[in-house]
């Protein structure tokens, strides 16, 4: 229909990336845990948009369905079922905060250095053609990755039974 130029696509990528990063910082810094959850929604939704821009349309929709629509709801329920966390003093000791920030900064600096200084293969400088991904994902999922696919079912089964055992109130 409409063919936006590449600059437009790049611009929206950086916009959504910036929103996602701002949301992530909000998750970490928000004083109330419920606000953290709302910032998480922001991050997850804008990441769905970046996935789409990176050529993963199916994954973007899956991100909305699973992360925004399901995992966030689970987290919100968790927050509401543990009401006193609203009053929890959030700042842990100064030493611990400093150490945490230091570790995070170290990870960031190291990975940034690796990303920027690495000699990436020349073939990696151009993206693969933009095309719908659902069918390719389906083909992969039911042929090459059939075993991980079934393992995912077992993982979900174990998670479901385990979580029911843990969370259920004994009468």
């Amino acid at each position: 229909m409409i063919a936006p130029t590449e600059a437009l696509v790049a611009g929206s990528f950086y916009t959504f990336a910036a929103i996602a990063l701002a949301g992530a910082i909000g998750v970490v810094l928000a004083r109330k845990v419920f606000h953290s959850a709302l910032f998480l929604v922001l991050t997850l939704a804008s990441l769905a948009a970046t996935f789409v821009i990176l050529g993963a349309d199916f994954l973007g929709a899956v991100q909305i369905v699973i992360y925004v629509g399901a995992i966030t709801v689970l987290i919100l329920f968790g927050i509401m079922l543990t009401p006193r966390n609203v009053e929890l003093p959030e700042s842990s000791g100064v030493g611990r905060s400093t150490a945490g920030v230091f570790v995070a900064a170290a990870v960031f600096i190291v990975s940034t250095t690796v990303i920027v200084t690495s000699q990436w293969p020349r073939s990696m400088s151009t993206p693969i053609p933009d095309r719908p991904t659902t069918e390719a994902i389906g083909q992969g999922l039911f042929t090459t990755y059939a075993l991980p696919f079934e393992m995912a079912s077992i993982l979900l089964l174990i998670a479901m039974i385990g979580a029911i055992v843990i969370a259920r109130e004994e009468q």
Binding site: L38, V41, V65, V68, G69, V73, P132, T134
Partner: protein, 355 residues
């Protein structure tokens, strides 16, 4: 009927498009012109839907009034037609009360979280061949993703109100929405399976010979499940427990007044209309039909489904909460899985028989 988008009868927006393109795209540098035309198109569709939704509030009140042997709104304007406008103006002029303990930003954010997805959906629902703002190749999944976002809005409304009734109402509403989302998601797979695509336009085209409603034996079951789960998803009677006034005041929007309340109200009707349109698209052949232009068929079918929703509201009593949850988890979910399984086996058999 065969209907190209450059035909005036088939595309009611043709002149709008031509005019918008002539004014903006021909005179402005490229990305800008396209963006402005796109913004105008989306704004027009959104406004149109909002107007339709407002007219439907009136229609629903009149129909329910008729079913219950009373008149319904009949004072403002001819046959009460301007009642919705009067209501909107009234709500606009009402004070927005924000309770002292309320968490203000999430409190105001919640109605938007419920309203926005119900309007965005209309950008991908096709009104005719090629007649949607955009046709996503993952359309169905995207609609389902949008359908999950109001749950967050309702939980936010309940939590931000700092009110026991609102909180309990919000949690009950959210538990109901997620309970019915699972059968909905699974039963939507039946049309996807039959059409072999997730694009809404593709699904409509796959029904050009046979509506999926009539794909026996699973079609009718899937259709009914979708309709029931859809009604539950938009909190309509008989599944309007979240706002069961006799039990938990007004549920999650107890503390809302004026315009924020109106937004919840608008969202509820916009969602009902969206569910009608999705039912039409997925099971009733969408815009397909003889003689009349496609978009007329689309709206005829959508209004017919909406009338059924109103009829159900006028007829059935509200469910009890435990009945509601039992229906979702112990009846609808297994039934949806069985329907999908039967559809898959049937399709395999047909394929192997036809070679």
């Amino acid at each position: 009927m065969n209907c190209p988008t450059d035909n005036f009868i088939c595309n009611p927006f043709l002149y709008f498009h031509l005019a918008a393109n002539a004014i903006f795209r021909d005179h402005l540098p490229e990305p800008l012109g396209t963006i402005i035309v796109l913004a105008l198109t989306v704004a027009m569709v959104t406004t149109l839907i909002a107007l339709i939704v407002m007219s439907q509030v009136w229609a629903e009140r009149r129909i329910v009034g008729f079913m219950q042997g009373r008149l319904g709104p009949n004072r403002v304007g001819p046959a009460g037609l301007l009642q919705s406008v009067a209501d909107a103006v009234k709500l606009l002029l009402k004070e927005i009360i924000i309770p002292t303990q309320a968490d203000k930003i999430p409190f105001m954010l919640a109605p938007l979280l419920v309203l926005v997805p119900s309007l965005v959906v209309w950008s991908i629902i096709p009104w005719g061949p090629g007649l949607s703002v955009t046709d996503l190749n993952i359309g169905v999944l995207f609609v389902l993703g949008l359908g999950g976002i109001p749950t967050i809005g309702i939980l936010t409304a309940g939590w931000a109100s700092s009110n026991k009734y609102a909180l309990l109402g919000g949690m009950r509403a959210a538990a109901q929405l997620i309970a019915y989302e699972i059968p909905l998601v699974i039963v939507v797979l039946v049309p996807v399976l039959l059409a072999g695509t997730m694009s809404l336009g593709g699904i409509v085209e796959a029904q050009s010979n046979l509506w999926f409603l009539f794909f026996l034996p699973v079609g009718p079951v899937a259709f009914l499940l979708f309709l029931v789960a859809g009604i539950a998803e938009v909190n309509r009677s008989p599944f309007d427990l979240p706002e069961a006034e006799s039990e938990i005041v007004a549920g999650f929007h107890t503390e809302y007044s004026g315009m924020p309340f109106a937004l919840f109200f608008l969202a509820e009707y916009a969602n009902s209309f969206a569910v009608s349109a999705m039912t039409t698209t997925l099971f009733l052949g969408g815009w397909g039909g003889p003689i009349l232009p496609p978009f007329i068929w689309f709206f005829l079918k959508t209004y017919a489904v909406f009338f059924v929703l109103v009829w159900i509201r006028g007829t059935l009593p509200r469910l009890r909460y435990d009945q509601l949850m039992r229906t979702a988890w112990k009846v609808a979910l297994p039934l949806a899985l069985v329907t999908l399984g039967v559809a898959a086996i049937e399709l395999s058999l047909i394929r192997s028989l036809l070679g």
